[in-house]
């Protein structure tokens, strides 16, 4: 049904999507919290930067990633030398690109949920002696769970579809950085590749649908279930 290259692309997409989502989630929560709850000079600018990957054509984002996180890039060189973390031409780079592209979606969803929380419930927790971080973990996060799940789903879905930034940043190396969308793109650029592209598109849609259903069920169960 699938060629081994397609299988590799599918598995890689799953890996890249999951890891990009999981790794960016904590950062997105922190940024969303700051944007939802704090007022400071330059807040709009931070908000703007967060939205950048959405506003810029993916190619530009990919190129910017290349400049920053390539082996010769400002951060890329540092991370490679000190942490051994190499992005260029690796699946890690694909995950970084996917994470960056999904970031604004994640932050928005989480921020909306945080803004909907009645702060008096958090205050109640404080009067019971809970320190801020504990309140955050046991009250704020669970109450924002809808937004967190929604953000994760959006980012994961985006990771499944992300292509422009990824291919620009880490190229298209089968087994390393060739995810489903790169494979699909290649097929669309080949006369007669439509059938193959359709097949892989259905796979991507199926994975996203599964993620959606899992997320809906988990939110519903959390609301019905007993404790957090």
């Amino acid at each position: 049904m699938f060629t081994s290259e397609e299988w590799t692309a599918i598995l890689l997409s799953l890996k890249v999507g999951s890891i990009a989502t999981a790794a960016s989630l904590p950062v997105a929560i922190a940024v969303a919290w700051v944007l939802a709850r704090r007022d400071f000079r330059g807040k709009s600018l931070v908000d703007g930067v967060v939205h950048l990957p959405l506003v810029l054509p993916p190619v530009v984002t990919g190129y910017a990633l290349l400049l920053l996180f390539g082996r010769r890039g400002v951060f890329g060189a540092f991370l490679a030398d000190h942490l051994g973390l190499v992005f260029s031409f690796r699946w890690t780079g694909a995950a970084l690109a996917a994470g960056v592209m999904g970031f604004p979606l994640m932050v928005r969803a989480i921020r909306l949920s945080l803004e909907a929380i009645d702060v008096r419930v958090e205050q109640a927790a404080a009067t019971l002696g809970a320190p801020p971080l504990w309140v955050f973990a046991t009250v704020t996060l669970p109450l924002a769970s809808r937004g967190i799940v929604a953000g994760a789903v959006l980012a994961f879905a985006k990771a499944l579809g992300e292509f422009g930034a990824t291919i620009t940043f880490v190229s298209n190396i089968p087994g390393q950085t060739q995810t489903i969308p790169s494979a699909i793109y290649a097929l669309t650029q080949t006369p007669g590749g439509e059938a193959g592209a359709l097949k892989l598109s259905i796979v991507a849609a199926g994975i996203a649908l599964a993620a959606l259903i899992v997320s809906e069920v988990s939110v519903r169960r959390a609301r019905r279930g007993a404790a957090a």
């Binding site: 419930v121 009067t127 019971l128 809970a130 959390a222 957090a228």
Partner: protein, 368 residues
């Protein structure tokens, strides 16, 4: 000892209060919108005053002059919100247990089982707040705050949503917190009886200002003729000593220089000093010898003052043998019919049944 001296402006409303609360219960009393909840929130540290200083014992909770400020979660101040504010994602049991973790072990003095029992919430433990009725929510909120064994407890109209019977079950428990566990309480309520029973100090707020501070007897006593709608809020507080507890009749006798007061229920122990709140509307004045009536308490004294106004009522202030003052409301009609005047010797008849458990310290629920 809580000491508050703060100012705060909010739109048209401005708060400027200074008061101190002692070891027992300090009642915060006043009309809707006068600033009670605002004060409570300042003490809990949930809002900051524009200027001022709040101290709890030795600890400065906030001082805008020095910039000192203790975060809410370090204040060890429990708060029962006017509108419950339960954690919607946690069941009742977890709501109740939430604060326990942060209570230092030696400070955990309030037992979970007793709280659940008194509040009657045992059957709700597995439920989510959204499925609770208004009164049930409020009871869980009370329990949640109590179980942190706080150093100061703030209660914002905790019993307003409850029926009388439930109130009368919970009140003795609040007294136990006050007495056994020595937890000082700042208590907001619209109920005179509750305040009179619990509070050693009452702060009356009006328009964001302290209108009066004192004992319940002082603050709730009618100094002038109160508008008639407020007459049920007027009380006198008499102090006496328990001389006899009569389990057979289920009553206690309190000796007061002006006479013997019969109180329903069994007071804690003979010899103890008790304060009894008596509503001015519950006192009947009698001339001549004690009539043959179902009232067992008659206190002797003389009329010190009769205040009348256009309204139907006269406020008669008696001076009792002890020098204590006792207030009684009567119709002007009655005052004229009896020809009551300053200096007349009168007896104050006080029905035992009208003495509210909420108005006597140390009186548990009177067994039915």
């Amino acid at each position: 000892m809580i000491s508050v001296a703060v100012t705060l402006a909010r739109g048209d409303f401005s708060l400027d209060v200074a008061f101190e609360g002692g070891a027992g219960v300090t009642g915060l009393f006043g009309p809707s919108g006068c600033g009670k909840t605002t004060v409570i929130r300042l003490v809990a540290g949930l809002d900051r005053p524009d200027a001022g200083r709040i101290t709890l014992g030795e600890r400065v909770l906030i001082d805008t002059a020095t910039g000192a400020r203790v975060a809410p979660h370090r204040r060890r101040i429990g708060l029962v919100f006017q509108d419950a504010q339960l954690f919607p994602h946690l069941d009742v049991a977890t709501n109740l247990a939430y604060g326990r973790f942060f209570t230092p072990k030696p400070a955990r003095r309030v037992e979970t089982a007793a709280v659940i029992e008194v509040l009657g919430i045992g059957h709700l433990m597995k439920r989510r707040p959204e499925t609770l009725s208004g009164g049930e929510k409020q009871r869980v909120a009370i329990g949640r705050a109590l179980l942190t064994s706080p150093e100061l407890l703030l209660m914002d109209e905790p019993l307003a949503a409850l029926d009388d019977r439930r109130k009368l079950e919970i009140l003795p428990f609040i007294e136990r917190l006050r007495d056994e566990f020595a937890i000082p309480i700042l208590y907001v309520s619209h109920s005179v009886e509750e305040v009179a029973r619990l509070a050693s100090t009452v702060v009356r707020l009006e328009h964001g200002r302290v209108a009066r501070i004192g004992t319940p007897g002082e603050v709730l006593a009618p100094t002038a003729l109160a508008p008639s709608t407020g007459r049920f809020e007027a009380i006198s507080v008499l102090t006496g000593r328990v001389t006899r507890i009569d389990p057979a009749y289920g009553v206690s006798f309190v000796e007061h220089p002006a006479g013997r007061i019969v109180v329903p229920g069994l007071l804690e122990r003979e010899g103890a000093e008790v304060h009894i709140a008596i509503r001015a509307t519950d006192v009947t004045l009698a001339l001549g010898r004690t009539p043959q009536v179902s009232v067992r308490t008659a206190l002797a004294g003389r009329v010190a003052k009769v205040a009348t106004d256009h309204g139907p009522f006269a406020l008669v202030t008696m001076e009792l043998a002890s020098g204590d003052r006792l207030h009684a409301y009567a119709t002007r009609l009655a005052v004229d019919d009896l020809g009551l005047d300053v200096g007349d010797g009168v007896q104050a008849l006080i029905k035992a049944v009208s003495i509210d458990e909420r108005g006597v310290q140390g009186l548990g629920v009177v067994a039915g």
